[in-house]
């Protein structure tokens, strides 16, 4: 019998990195991505000074790194913990390749988002911690996918032979 905690330990380092990075992406999406400079006086009826990845005008492009992270992490976790059989290929692309594409896409979008000069009307917005955390988590997501990809591609380690086996005791 295998407990769920033991099964959870079956996740490899790369898979844990992917799951952790996706959790970070989810948290980052709720933090401040952009904020108005403190010296800007708001119009009457305008209350928002800070914007998250979910704020209108920014989403859904700002949510794509999180969506890509979920698309990688959820099948990974379900495949491990629920023994879910995933298809080998989707549309002519192997699932391992698809994960690389999604992770690279998330990082590319995060870098692009950092490089973009967002504005609220004529006022340029300042970048917040959610944006920087998304960039960090996207890097971790790609690292996790590459680690997982290398682990899957490497040949299985042969069983070690103890001295007892050699002596036949």
């Amino acid at each position: 019998m295998t407990s769920s905690s033991t099964q959870a330990r079956r996740l490899a380092v790369g898979e844990w990195t992917v799951v952790g990075a996706t959790v970070l992406l989810a948290v980052a999406s709720l933090l401040t991505w952009y904020r108005l400079p403190s010296n800007v006086v708001l119009d009457a009826g305008t209350s928002a000074r800070a914007f998250t990845a979910w704020s209108g005008g920014f989403s859904p492009t700002t949510l794509l790194p999180l969506v890509f992270g979920l698309a990688i992490a959820v099948p990974t976790v379900l495949g491990r913990l629920a023994d879910l059989q995933l298809p080998e290929r989707i549309g002519g692309i192997r699932c391992t390749q698809l994960r690389l594409i999604l992770a690279a896409g998330a990082l590319l979008l995060a870098i692009s988002e950092v490089a973009t000069q967002r504005a609220y009307g004529p006022v340029s917005l300042q970048r917040g911690p959610g944006l920087w955390l998304t960039l960090l988590a996207s890097c971790a997501l790609l690292v996790g996918v590459v680690l997982d990809h290398r682990a899957a591609a490497s040949p299985p380690t042969p069983p070690t032979t103890s001295s007892d086996d050699l002596t036949g005791t």
Binding site: S59, G92, T116
Partner: protein
């Protein structure tokens, strides 16, 4: 199809992408959109140049790039460009509205992903 769609995407990127009342217009290379919206024409250009060079320039490309075949690279780039175009379509634009450039880029991106899928399904690439 990829060459035509790539050209359409690049041309559309220089036309007004957003129209802002009382302010003017900005294209995909503008300060507010660069580099996210710019990824679409850049991907279109890369795809079109690769196909044109391979087909008409007899340029020899490596069979695989980071374990991906070229048709797979095209599917990935085309899908990514089309996804970005659709994201802009459904986003909250506030007081802004789309200019003709956006619609041309959207059309080009849909052409890119269609052409990439057609290329991937060619018997020689399967």
């Amino acid at each position: 199809m990829i060459i035509a769609a790539g050209a359409v995407t690049v041309i559309g990127a220089f036309l007004p992408f957003w129209e802002v009342p009382l302010v003017g217009t900005t294209n995909a290379w503008g300060r507010l959109l660069f580099p996210i919206a710019t990824l679409m024409p850049v991907f279109g250009l890369v795809m079109a140049v690769q196909v044109a060079a391979a087909r008409f320039g007899n340029v020899q490309f490596p069979d695989r790039v980071l374990s991906f075949t070229w048709p797979q690279v095209h599917v990935a780039l085309g899908s990514f460009a089309a996804l970005l175009a659709v994201c802009y379509l459904v986003s909250d634009k506030g007081i802004m509205s789309f200019g003709i450039g956006y619609w041309i880029v959207l059309l080009g991106c849909l052409g890119l992903v269609t052409g990439a899928v057609m290329l991937e399904r060619e018997p020689a690439n399967r």
